[in-house]
Symmetry: C2
Subunit: 571 residues, 2 copies
């Protein structure tokens, strides 16, 4: 009886007419207040939400007893909107803009970042944050977890921007896009002196930003203050810790894997002619099957490096022009960016569009979503059971041994130390990251001069993977990240890989027959799980809380090690 009464209480509290009336009243009031300027910004065909029968409350505009917080919500809506505009201008830069517009475009994007900076650091914002915090302190019942998180994220944005000048922000944003072109040129001509000069200025500029932040916060790790942009809530010490464990285990594991694979037959190389259109059709179809919504996004081939990006309303993914001799390259890119894409599209746009709490969790979680698709799922044997008959048809190769499930899977799980991160297998991938992490930390903390980078690079590659780059192009210039000023980003790939393995472990426990689903090309159960447990959460939780709420444990390298051992060393 007690149980029943509890259950009844729960039920009646949910279905209480008074509560619904109150919610509806709020919705109605919100609508009335905002219909003229705002309306609902959701332009898609109405989706039937099977879980909630009441209309979505647009939390962004929902009235709140704290006037200061309401004011902040409007300010941060406009800041977020400028961010969304900058994103679209950036996607256009990469996909459709006429070549001659590029410099003016840099100016426009940088200008938007300066404006956002000005609005975030506006003198009233600090005051409004303090007033809102007071209100929260004294009226806890008015604040739910989302509002509290939203306010927290507003303050974090303020604290990150306040110490830096708007000119520096503008310059940084400008150089980030200019760097993409510089990198393209550096890869083409391998001109180290020119690249060195640009990279030095990028290091200097980022050090200045880091110094300003450390001065304001009293922190002392320059590198940490940059890394926080990409992995909020994770410290350099955490990373060093995890990387230490991984290095130790993988250094032992790698020779065993190489030994084992030395006794297996070499896979057939798949090089052949795979028409670009057919490849893009396949990429499109695979993204649809993982749940990417093309009504709110797109997939483009360009001359640029792959980039995820955009907003939940408009998510345009960019991959490099396809290699017509190998469809697996563009497929890998598309699946990786697709993982980012469904994360972005799954953010709580209808409720929190443009608000800080409605944004993604940064690079570590972003990469976990990309890598769980690309590295965990799309390297299972089952995935190739699904793929093989389809590509036999698509690429006109029925019974072609290159396209057998076994062969495709063998190619994707072949381990071989090499100089290029992008061509790295799932096991040696870690060493590439550790290498870059060491170097960028030392560059920013002043222990490594940009001029010494090529030597330090080559030394590290020999040390960690026993390979020797031929030059700077397959050495220290291979990645775009430093060219666009992303110092502190690289560890997020490994942290993301760890998180992906830990999530997949949980998913296999939570859902029945994951492997069979993958073999049927039914990925939606998995991606819906990710949607519910990761995407829809926005920035509601801290990194630790998010990992714990989804997997029951804080992040650890163990699931990744277990995964690699299972995939690469099991009999």
């Amino acid at each position: 009886m007690k149980v029943f009464s509890k259950f009844w209480h729960l039920l009646s509290s949910v279905f209480s007419p008074a509560i619904w009336k109150e919610r509806w009243r709020k919705v109605a009031r919100v609508k009335k207040k905002t219909v003229l300027i705002e309306d609902d910004e959701d332009g898609t065909v109405p989706e039937v939400d099977t879980k909630v029968s009441a209309p979505t409350v647009v939390r962004q505009y929902e009235e709140h007893p704290s006037e200061a917080y309401m004011d902040l919500k409007y300010r941060f809506r406009d800041i977020g909107r400028m961010g969304a505009i900058a994103e679209t201008m950036g996607r256009d830069f990469l996909t459709a803009m006429p070549e001659g517009a590029w410099k003016a475009r840099l100016g426009q994007i940088a200008f938007l970042h300066r404006r956002m900076h000005d609005d975030i650091t506006n003198e009233n914002v600090r005051r409004l944050i303090d007033k809102s915090k007071d209100h929260l302190e004294n009226n806890k019942e008015d604040w739910d977890a989302w509002d509290i998180a939203n306010l927290r994220e507003m303050e974090k944005m303020y604290d990150r921007h306040e110490p830096v000048s708007n000119e520096m922000t503008e310059k940084r944003a400008r150089l980030a896009y200019e760097g993409r072109r510089r990198h393209r040129d550096a890869l083409a001509d391998g001109d180290w002196p020119a690249a060195r000069e640009f990279l030095s200025s990028m290091v200097d500029m980022n050090k200045q930003v880091a110094e300003a932040r450390c001065k304001a916060s009293g922190a002392n790790s320059l590198y940490q203050s940059l890394m926080e942009e990409y992995m909020p809530g994770i410290s350099v010490m955490d990373v060093e810790d995890w990387f230490g464990t991984l290095n130790k285990s993988l250094t032992k594991m790698l020779p065993k894997i190489l030994d084992k694979q030395a006794n297996e037959p070499e896979p057939h190389q798949i090089e052949d002619f795979y028409p670009a259109k057919a490849q893009m059709w396949l990429n499109h179809a695979l993204l649809e099957s993982i749940g990417f919504d093309f009504r709110r996004g797109g997939l483009f081939e360009t001359g640029h490096n792959p980039v995820e990006g955009g907003t939940p309303d408009d998510t345009r993914l960019v991959i490099k022009n396809v290699d017509i001799s190998n469809f697996m390259d563009s497929m890998k890119s598309a699946l990786h960016e697709g993982g980012h894409g469904i994360y972005i599209q799954g953010l709580p746009r209808k409720t929190w569009r443009y608000q800080p709490v409605g944004q993604d969790m940064g690079a570590a979680v972003q990469e976990s979503q990309a890598l769980i698709i690309e590295m965990i799922i799309a390297r299972t044997r089952s995935f190739y059971e699904f793929l093989s008959p389809r590509v036999e048809g698509l690429f006109h190769g029925i019974h072609n041994p290159k396209l057998s499930a076994g062969n495709l899977h063998a190619i994707k799980t072949r381990v071989k130390p090499s100089t290029l991160r992008k061509k790295a297998d799932e096991v040696t991938y870690f060493f590439h990251m550790q290498h870059r992490f060491n170097l960028e930390r030392d560059l920013i903390d002043g222990k490594l001069k940009p001029a010494d980078l090529p030597d330090a690079w080559n030394y590290g590659m020999r040390d960690l993977l026993d390979v020797q780059p031929e030059g700077v192009r397959d050495g220290c210039l291979q990645d775009v990240h430093w060219f666009v000023g992303k110092f502190g980003y690289f560890p997020s790939y490994t942290v993301g890989h760890m998180m992906a393995a830990q999530l997949f472990d949980t998913i296999e426990d939570d859902l029945l027959g994951v492997d069979q689903s993958i073999a049927k090309g039914d990925f939606r159960k998995i991606t819906d799980w990710l949607g519910e447990n990761i995407h829809a959460k926005g920035r509601l939780l801290s990194f630790d809380e998010l990992v714990k709420s989804a997997t029951g444990k804080t992040l650890s390298p163990k699931p990744l090690l277990k995964h690699l051992e299972g995939r690469y060393l099991a009999a």
Copy 2:
């Protein structure tokens, strides 16, 4: 000797080392001051400018003794930049945006317009304009014609925005893009009650804007205050005057033309299969020959109505999806938008990018540039002498009588009253404009109710052209203009047509062998002339001054009447 001395004086003043040193100093100072934030925003391959041997002075950043004016230049740079961003967001809206993003995009574009409005009407701007005017009054030698015009245009922008609220500006911008979709739907379903409701709200909103402006300026014509947005410097009385003359003459001319053509053989209709790709190739090639620079622009087929637009750095032209049965339709659109396009690209971007004086002169001059290409040049017999052999090859019809120069020209010069503006010939085109001018003036001035529009429309069409629309789709709903809130735009087509005829008259006098050039497809002499006399002037001159400086006379309907008489009634 006197002549020689004068010549020498002129030469030495141009080549005086002191003057050059001063100019260079300015350039250097400007560079030094702005290199960090700004740099030169010109991203195209450096062009060899054969006329000036010194580098272009970036007037936007050139120091000026009036501090207030310098401040205004920086403010208006950012306002112009937001305008450029809104333009790109708008082009993307029409060409590449995923469908589901449309509502969020409306919010973003409208937001940018609100921000621009806020910046223009900022309380400091009025003060800075007054201080700058004082400076000009007392230091005339510091102000050249461009600076004076730039300040004048800043004040005009201020005066136009100041009386209107930022909320109204935001709403107006939002509805302008929403109207494109509404119009698309209205054309598809012909639903007059739904369209009426939307059009009524557009009329009301624009009346409110007009009332606010009239209240501030003391003017009393609501319609005039809207028309000024599209045709600054031209009054409703001017338009009524010109339209009176044109109506009188064309009413007499039309029956004579119809009689004459009744005795000529009907041209072969060209309906056939013209592949879309080939049509777009032709359109692209024709735009290249008139001087449109595809490194800084593009031409897109979309489901929307044709739109010119963009900025000198990034000019994307939009035409409707081509009709595969008639290549002349898409060609006409492309040439029309191409005329706009070369005007936009020819604006003084290197010197005055983003400044008010660097912008175009509004719709009347815009349409003059579109119509001189589409209606004047591309309806000459010579144009078809050039086109015919090329389309015989392109569309696989050598000796096909449909594609002969004579037949193509006959089709394009056939005069026939009809209900659709877009299908109208060059002679009856005027009556369509007069009709719309009468109606929109009465709608805004309150003499016509939106509910009475269909009847008034049909009455006018019978009265002016003796034709009867079948319904609202080929009647009062055929045009997008009112749906996007453009009341006061229509007369600019006729004013533009008048100006185009007057310009072409002058060009034929100024340049030798214009007709022979057209027959060879060599349009650059003509468009370079337009570039020098119209495009490169930006907003340096008033409308009257511009027409006079280019043609030696103020605008008159006579050259248009002479042109029509020559083309349609000469033996």
